[in-house]
Amino acid sequence: MSPVKDSFRRPFPTPGTVVSAVALAWALFGIHLFHIDGDVGRHIRVGRHILSTGEIPRSDIFSHTMLGEPFVPFEWLSEVCFAAADRIAGLTGVAVLSALLFAATSLVVYSLVRRLGVGPLLASMAAALSMVLQAVHLLPRPHLFTTLFAAVFLMLLETYRIRRSVVALGVLIPIMALWTNLHGGFLVGFVLLAVYSLDAWRPGSAVAANRIPLVLTAAACLIASFLNPAGFGVWTHSLSYFGMDFLVDQTNEYQSPDFHQLHGKVFLVSILIGLSLLGSGISRAGFRDLTLFLGWLAAGLMSARNIPLFGVLAVPWFAPWVKSVLALSRDGPLGPAATRIEEFDSRMEKVEAQISGFIPTVVLALILIVFAARSGGDRYAFEPESFPVRAVAALDELSLSGNVFNEMPWGGYLLYTRPDIPVFIDGQTDFYGEDLSRDYLRIRHLSPGGLDLLDDYEVDWILTPPTVPLSQGLSLDSRWRLEYEDAVAQVYARVFTE
């Protein structure tokens, strides 16, 4: 009997598909995807341009400060995906695409943990923790592709390690070609290849036979990574992030996690769980699990945006480590509980084999998506409490013209809603560079000479929150006149004198 027919006959979803359905529902109904981040607006705008012209832009056409400057289109394919989703169903479509990527990642993590020889209960728990960590940076942006592909890469590498499946290795190559066009995080794939190669090349390694295939695959992936509009340029562009100290320090998501915040507390708990398991397991950690844990722990501590990758690449190993601790506890006071967990997990394993149907999960997912599309409304829209929705709507009545100075997080929103207005800056800081970013901050924070920079950039009108120092400075400066004001945004226009 074919697997599809088999699936129809088994009407119950597996624990893994339940995990992914929960992830889908959570992303669609539990998290406001358009709450704080306007960058998705820029991505959709770039994607729209590609879809309408059939050309991938190689220089800037979206700002007045960097007009005509060359840029590397390292995310063009995901931008097309987001723009297509937006064309089909507006921001609801974008939300559905993001939620599907999130759910798919959770499903892959579950499958990966099961592949590590852990039962459904512990696998579900690890996948749930991973899901919570991924949600820390759940924004409708291209990095979601990296999170998914990182999980897929790890699962395929582990599949090869366990089953010596050459197909699993071969699949990595087209995935890498795709990944390079979707997001600059494709470097993660090479990190994983390096870890598994090093594991094979270690003296006395049990998987020494994997050495040559892994190295050949890495070489093929390297060639595949050049299959993009910028060729080798995508490598230099992605690696250049590591030298942008100023921009990294100024960008919220690149900063170290704040453990006072909820997302930081979740990460802290995960770190403590991981370290506790490392310190109390019956056996020592292996090379690849320890390396991946340490590496992504470091990455997560350096930049909060890497926490989802910690969730995907380090947390799965917690499940086998828990098994190790349970094995130790068998003879101790927690022995009965440990035995019960193990027995429950082995029963679950048998049940899972009996009910493994995916059709019900697909149906459930479709129901969730349709429900989201029908009930979405304001949920899938830029939040008026965070973005200058009312101010932008009033722009036509103000009949402003010329160059704008805008709040950086609002740049993407402006590009999305008013494609006719070239922005001063938006969230693509790696493109705008350090000099312009410094000038932007000097103006916004009213540093000495900041107001004069508005003349240098020939700014004619300003869209700013009322709470920032710039707003107070403009209100005292006779060269500027307040044209519009609400609780979120103010619009100032330059006063021209004879």
Binding site: L268, L272, S276, R284, A285, A298, L301, Q472, G473
Partner: protein, 527 residues
């Protein structure tokens, strides 16, 4: 054999729990502990000394309060140092350390204060080393851990009362470890007295109670038998006495509610730099990251497991550090020594062929000497330490002073008496310096954020950052002149305002004074 190698097979009940006499071969060599003390003093009084007075002005406030206590022979319970909270009640939770800091300042100015801070720092490093040896580390491992601990403690090496907490926490760990290893009551006899000193010196004493509680749990989980039962009840009695001891202070039990209110205030935790999470992009953050990764590596690859008590202490202090960077000293002094239990054996046993790794209960540790020691091995370090202290405190030494690159030393010198008249709005980080350098000027605010409260702190931030309503704040407190960093957004607004005039701007500090010729108040300024 100069010292005995500690092995799991060693007898747990050897006679002397403390020091085993070592054969004094190469007696002229400096002892490791003496070397570490010298190194700690060298770091604190060398590169550490200017740092103590370049990044933090709070020491100025502590000295000022302490000077008041010494001169008035009274512990103040109401504010007399600010014009914003003048007369408001406050909890003197650090009065003892403030008095000692002021006495050091009286004896030899800021050099004396730095020497006191360096001494406390050296005590923490030394006790960390001793703890590492008591927890089974070889001399190499113990020195390595103490040196790592020292590097981490340097991150928060400021001449402030928190140094007492670090030193006392490490001493408490020493006493408790010794008690668990030897079951001799003399090790815990003075713990309540230690808490009396602690509760009057710094608000960090709950850390000690947490540590004591963990050790209590450990005895209760440690099995049965008359010996362990005696330990259980002894530690419970000590814990109860310690809790009572914390209330022996001028504020009594109110100190607890004060601490709870401050630590539970999310606003302060969010805006106070040292309470924020570590920045792993900074050089010290990278050092901490390396230590965290090293800790994880040792935990994962050691041939033995860490007992739960060690794991709880290590991870508890690490969690505290990740939440608030200022706790890095506790992680260094109380958490790290536990790795000595594993570090010595990290490279042996537990191979893939024999993966099982046993636990290492504390009471099974064999006694060992902290070091190769002899009377002569301490001579050289003692002489070196003495010379170092003399170099900093001698008649020609002038190193202890607030750094004019970070504090408004020049600006205050240039201002005339009339320009400094009236209520001031000052940079928060400069408040302590202002109290120290100009005792006649009541400040707007200083680093004592828990006293000034959330409302005033928010008003300060509104005005300083040029937020909406900045000028109303200056009017409300009838501020006549401002002393803030030149780049503060407020200065740009003052420059645009007709009611304020620039008095001076030396690139570090800008001083604006209300123009008496114009109206005060906000009306008419913003159309």
């Amino acid at each position: 054999m100069p010292w005995r190698k500690c092995t799991p097979e060693s007898s747990p009940n050897d006679d002397d729990p403390g020091l085993i006499p070592a054969r004094h071969w190469l007696p002229a060599l400096p002892s490791p502990s003496g070397f570490l003390v010298f190194l700690a003093l060298l770091v604190a009084l060398g590169p550490g000394l200017p740092r103590m007075f370049s990044s933090d002005g709070d020491v100025g406030r502590h000295i000022r309060v302490g000077a008041g206590i010494l001169s008035e022979r009274e512990i103040p319970t109401a504010d007399s140092l600010s014009h914003t909270r003048y007369g408001s009640q406050w909890i003197p939770k650090e009065w003892l350390s403030q008095a000692v800091l002021a006495e050091s300042d009286r004896l030899n100015g800021l050099s004396g204060v730095a020497t006191l801070a360096a001494f406390l720092f050296a005590v923490s490093v030394l006790v960390t080393y001793v703890n590492a040896t008591l927890l089974g580390g070889s001399i190499g491992v113990a020195v390595g851990l103490a040196a790592t601990s020292m590097l981490l403690q340097v991150v928060h090496l400021l001449a402030r009362p928190h140094l007492v907490t670090t030193a006392l926490a490490s001493i408490l760990l020493l006493l408790l470890v010794q008690y668990r290893r030897t079951a001799r009551s003399r090790w815990v006899l003075f713990i309540p007295a230690l808490f009396v000193v602690w509760a009057n010196s710094h608000g960090g004493f709950p850390v000690g109670l947490a540590l004591l509680t963990l050790f209590c749990f450990d005895t209760w989980l440690g099995g049965r038998g008359p010996d362990i039962r005696r330990q259980q009840w002894t530690l419970i009695v000590v814990l109860a006495l310690a809790i009572v001891a914390t209330m022996v202070n001028p504020a009594g039990p109110a100190i607890w509610s004060h601490l709870a209110a401050h630590l539970g205030n999310e606003f302060f935790m969010g805006v106070t730099e040292e309470f924020q999470s570590p920045d792993f992009h900074a050089p010290w953050g990278r050092l901490l990251l390396a230590v965290i990764l090293g800790t994880a590596l040792i935990l994962g690859t050691s041939a033995r497991r860490l007992p739960w008590l060690g794991l709880a202490t290590l991870l508890g202090t690490l969690a505290a550090t990740l939440v608030s960077a200022r706790h890095i000293t506790l992680f260094a002094a109380v958490g790290l020594p536990w790795l000595a239990l594993l570090g010595t054996y990290a490279s042996s046993g537990g191979t893939e062929a024999h993966p099982e790794r046993p636990d290492w209960p504390l009471h099974t540790l064999a006694p060992r000497s902290p070091e190769i020691s002899s009377a002569t091995s301490h001579v050289l370090p003692l002489i070196a330490c003495g010379l170092l202290v003399l170099a900093v405190n001698g008649p020609f030494a002038t190193r202890g002073r607030f750094d004019s690159a970070t504090f408004p030393v020049q600006a205050l010198r240039e201002l005339s008496a009339s320009e400094k008249a009236g209520a001031v709005f000052n940079e928060m980080e400069w408040g302590g310096y202002l109290l120290y350098a100009q005792p006649d000027i009541p400040v707007f605010i200083d680093g004592h954020a828990d006293f000034f409260g959330e409302d005033l702190a928010r008003e300060y931030l509104t005005a300083r950052t040029g937020g909406s309503g900045w000028e109303e704040v200056l009017d409300r407190y009838q501020v006549q002149w401002t002393l803030t960093r030149s780049e503060a957004p407020m200065n740009q607004l003052l420059g645009l305002s007709e009611d304020w005039q620039l008095v001076l701007d030396d690139g570090l500090a800008a001083v604006y004074r209300r123009d008496d010729g114009n109206r005060t108040g906000s009306e008419g300024l913003i159309p």
